[in-house]
């Protein structure tokens, strides 16, 4: 770059530091205003401050953080009449010549953001996993031992909320951001600054959530049911602000992905020819954009209930706890498909590579995912079967819930069709795909018992539910995530973590995972409710079994992270250009992927699954060598 860097660029270089300074300043201002300027009538003897102080402090600290990072420069600059950014400015913001520092500032490069997401969700996964280990340790005995009731419930809330944060971004964050633009032949996202914002909302959300331990914790778990939430001390505010930030991130990311997929596709790429993973991201993005606003609204109402004595959810003031339950689950149920639909997409994207076959039933697979997306908005009251809310509607929600197993079953049909008579290459990602289908099958069949109202009377809110959603989220989504990490790291980093040890790691995680959650299915059937620190003595043997397996599970997950760090960061083992011999567009571009992905926008020819003919999916022009098979 010939011109000297402008002031804005110099400031952007120090974005993270300025962001932290901005956050501190914002918190101080917000806390002072909230504590002293807002009349606050609740007699809460808490030396740490009042709810308005904490809430406003957190809100302004996030604004300060984003301002310090430079998110306001463009909109405010444009409002004040600044010139449009030049090509050079854009290239700079995209991370040109940035090296490692790109990852610590605001950039508009979807590839940088994908890697930022990957590191962050692994951190969330690690912290949340530590929480799970503490929870299982406490449950070795039927009465409190290592924790007290408050710290136990706070741990349960932190584990669940962090894992929900992790899971809602785990696949769409790293792989959606990194690969969707490449797969559709786009040089960038539709709203690159917005994309940076969706990532940079998350680290503050995680830190604010964790700060609850300094504010007394919260006892509501991740569901935050009112009016219990109104009773809670200041730690509840951390949960509310963090969840609002996550909701914004999910919603904005959805809008951005929809716009990108709808408007930035390469010539020759109609919707009917998009890679299946892009379809899954599109469906998920609609879910996020439509469901997240309900969560944000509910959270803000709870914030007002706690600070300004509105009584949306307080029965004594004419409100209703059912309102929270409805709003929360209206978000909460599409949310679980936000977790798992991208996992379906990834798995179906990888299957043809390892079976060397075309994807069987592409259209019906797309239809299945769209069907899941539509149905997921009309099933939420199955979380409220025993709540006493609208009992006459229960048969409808039972029916719609059971109906969703039809489009989900289609995913299995597509997998079986693709695998049919194939000579499958059992690479490490393929092992994890096998684990995904096995675990999700159990998750699906346990779901049938919960969707049926009479059997749900017994199983509702028991450990059976807990095991069911761990089978779908951890056994499903996280297994797909691990497959995708091994599969895509060579493209994202130019290095590989594929070693013999990973095969051992897969079997360790597969066996200990199933051991843990089959034990927990059993304690649920035998009558153990969720989120208890004390339980009936006759359940102890199964709980011990779950804990022992859970320790193994924790160790094998740590082994995965260990191998990842060792091979990629320390040993820096260089990967082959296209180690899996994939025909996908994302594997045809050079590694590292050029700044704007393509020198020349490719022309799409076909779906990238023609392994019978070996025909590449797109024409990249003369500059890029054709697929060489190695």
């Amino acid at each position: 770059m010939s011109t000297p860097p402008t002031l804005a660029r110099r400031l952007n270089e120090w974005g993270l530091l300025l962001g932290v300074i901005g956050a501190v300043i914002g918190f101080i201002i917000g806390f002072a205003v909230g504590t002293h300027a807002i009349p606050y009538s609740f007699d809460e003897d808490n030396s740490l401050g009042s709810d308005p102080g904490i809430l406003l402090g957190y809100a302004l600290s996030v604004v300060g953080f984003l301002a310090g990072m430079g998110f306001l420069n463009y909109p405010i600059g444009r409002l004040l009449g600044a010139k449009r950014p030049t090509e050079e400015d854009n290239a700079y913001m995209h991370g040109e010549g940035g090296g490692l520092t790109r990852y610590f500032r605001m950039t508009t490069d979807h590839k940088v953001i994908g890697l930022q997401y990957l590191v962050m969700i692994l951190a969330f996964l690690f912290i949340g996993g530590l929480g799970a280990m503490f929870i299982r340790t406490e449950l070795l005995t039927p009465s409190p031992t290592v924790a007290n009731a408050q710290s136990y419930l706070t741990l349960v809330g932190l584990h669940s909320t962090l894992m929900i944060f992790m899971a809602s971004a785990a696949i769409i964050g790293p792989f959606g951001n990194y690969f969707v633009p490449i797969m559709i032949g786009a040089r960038n996202m539709a709203f690159p600054r917005l994309e940076a914002l969706t990532f940079w909302l998350l680290p503050p959300a995680g830190l604010i959530l964790l700060s609850t331990v300094f504010l007394g914790g919260f006892t509501t778990g991740w569901t935050g049911y009112a009016p219990l939430a109104d009773q809670n001390v200041l730690g509840m505010d951390s949960y509310l602000i963090a969840f609002a930030l996550i909701g914004m991130s999910i919603g904005l990311s959805g809008v951005n992905m929809i716009a990108t997929i709808m408007t930035k596709r390469a010539p020759g790429l109609p919707l009917s020819r998009m890679p299946i993973f892009v379809w899954s991201v599109l469906v998920t993005s609609f879910l996020g954009a439509l469901a997240a606003p309900a969560l944000i609204a509910a959270v803000l109402m709870e914030v007002f209930d706690r600070s300004y004595q509105t009584t949306f959810f307080v029965p004594a003031g004419g409100g209703s706890p059912y309102l929270w339950e409805n709003l929360f689950w209206f978000f909460g149920h599409p949310e679980v498909y936000i977790f798992v639909v991208p996992a379906f997409g990834l798995v179906m994207e990888m299957l043809p590579v390892f079976t060397r076959r075309p994807l069987w039933g592409y259209r019906v697979a797309v239809g299945g995912m769209v069907g899941i997306g539509l149905l997921s908005f009309v099933v939420w009251q199955h979380h409220l079967f025993v709540s006493g809310l609208a009992p006459s509607l229960r048969p409808f929600y039972m029916f719609s819930t059971e109906l969703i197993s039809v489009p989900t079953g289609i995913i299995y049909l597509v997998a079986l069709g693709t695998l049919w008579r194939a000579r499958t290459r059992f690479t490490v990602p393929m092992l994890f795909i096998f684990g995904f289908f096995f675990n999700f099958l159990i998750g699906g069949f346990t779901g049938v018992f919960l969707s049926d109202v009479p059997s749900d009377f017994t199983l509702h809110a028991s450990y059976f539910v807990q095991a069911h959603f761990h089978y779908t989220i951890m056994g499903g989504e996280v297994f797909a995530l691990m497959a995708a990490i091994v599969y895509y790291l060579p493209k994202m980093t130019g290095r590989t973590m594929d070693t013999k040890l990973l095969r051992f790691q897969f079997w360790a995680v597969f066996i200990t995972f199933n051991g843990t959650f089959i034990s927990l299915i059993s304690v649920g059937i035998l009558g153990m409710p969720r989120r208890v620190i004390s339980y009936a003595a006759y359940l102890q043997p199964l709980n011990i079994s779950a804990t022992v397996f859970a320790y193994g599970l924790g160790l094998s997950m740590a082994l995965f992270l260990g191998i990842l760090l060792w091979e990629v960061v320390i040993k820096q083992k260089v990967a082959a250009r296209n180690p899996w011999e994939s025909l996908g567009v994302e594997w045809q571009v050079p590694t590292p992927v050029p700044l704007f992905n393509f020198d020349q926008v490719p022309v799409a020819w076909s779906l990238p699954y023609d392994y019978d003919t070996g025909k590449p999916a797109a024409d990249f022009g003369p500059a890029v060598p054709a697929f060489s098979g190695a």
């Binding site: 049911y225 229960r394 059971e402 197993s405 018992f449």
Partner: protein, 279 residues
């Protein structure tokens, strides 16, 4: 190709043995939540039925996955990898979707019918005021469950509205549980009777069940309700003979006599305390 045909046969036979064996084992195994009430029996039956239908399908999908992934992997190398690229099969897709739809529709119909038989008009109180004293065992006896942080108390409106900390029920008498809360959302879970109902302030959640086995049972809270949620459990709930029940009512009436004038008049819901803030 003969190897493949043999492998398919072996997998099908193994699946068949697993499916039939599993279903037979299920039919003889104890199915939760047991047979301690008509509701629990019906839930057991539903769980058994779902398991009986689900297990063969589950094991069939597993067998297919196992076959396509594992058996094919060891197929002889003479087979050409590019043979017969399949891009879909309308008949297979239609059959799969139709098959799953039929299973799902029949499950939904069955669940609706079972719900209608178990719990006609469940969830809402059958009338505004308390029920009259039942004249037969098939008429419901009203028992109110009041949840608060962190215990349950019970009121018997047909016995002068006495309030007790212990739940005692007469055997073979239909009971209408009216569940409500004084503070946050709880859930009344009488596992052995198959009863689970959320306790929501200002709401009356109704479940009926007829206990059929004399014994002592466990009751616990099934909705996170704050600090001592895990300890909101009681191992002393009892189902007793009608004569023991009458004696127990007599004893509790005497015990409650001095405090009856302080108790709120019986009602299906109670105004929660307006100062629920602060801990």
């Amino acid at each position: 190709m003969r190897n493949r045909a043999t492998a398919i046969r072996v997998v099908i036979i193994v699946w068949f043995i697993l499916a039939v064996g599993g279903d037979v084992a299920l039919a003889f195994g104890p199915i939760p939540p047991g047979q301690a009430s008509d509701l629990a029996s019906s839930e057991s039956l539903t769980i058994l039925l779902l398991a009986e239908i689900g297990w063969p399908i589950f094991s069939a999908v597993l067998a297919a996955l196992f076959f396509t992934m594992v058996v094919n992997r060891t197929a002889p190398p003479t087979e050409e990898p590019s043979a017969a690229a399949l891009r879909g099969n309308t008949r297979a897709q239609t059959a799969w979707i139709a098959g799953t739809l039929v299973v799902v529709l029949s499950l939904a119909v069955y669940g609706t019918v079972a719900l209608a038989i178990d719990q006609p008009g469940a969830g809402v109180p059958s009338q505004a005021s308390a029920l009259a004293m039942p004249t037969s065992t098939s008429q419901p006896l009203e028992v109110q469950v009041i949840a608060q942080q962190w215990w349950f108390t019970y009121r018997y409106p047909t016995y002068g509205g006495i309030e007790t900390p212990q739940l005692v029920l007469p055997v073979n008498q239909k009971i209408e549980f009216n569940v409500t809360s004084l503070d946050v959302v709880h859930s009344f879970w009488f596992y052995a009777l198959g009863v689970k109902a959320d306790a929501v302030p200002l709401n009356d959640n109704v479940v009926t069940a007829t206990p059929t086995k004399i014994g002592t049972y466990r009751i616990q809270c099934a909705e996170l309700c704050g600090l001592w949620h895990g300890n909101m459990a009681d191992n002393t709930a009892m189902v007793v003979s009608p004569s023991d029940f009458a004696a127990w009512i007599q004893q509790e009436t005497t015990l409650d006599a001095p405090i009856m004038k302080y108790l709120l008049p019986y009602s299906h819901t109670y105004e929660p305390s307006p100062t629920i803030y602060g801990s």
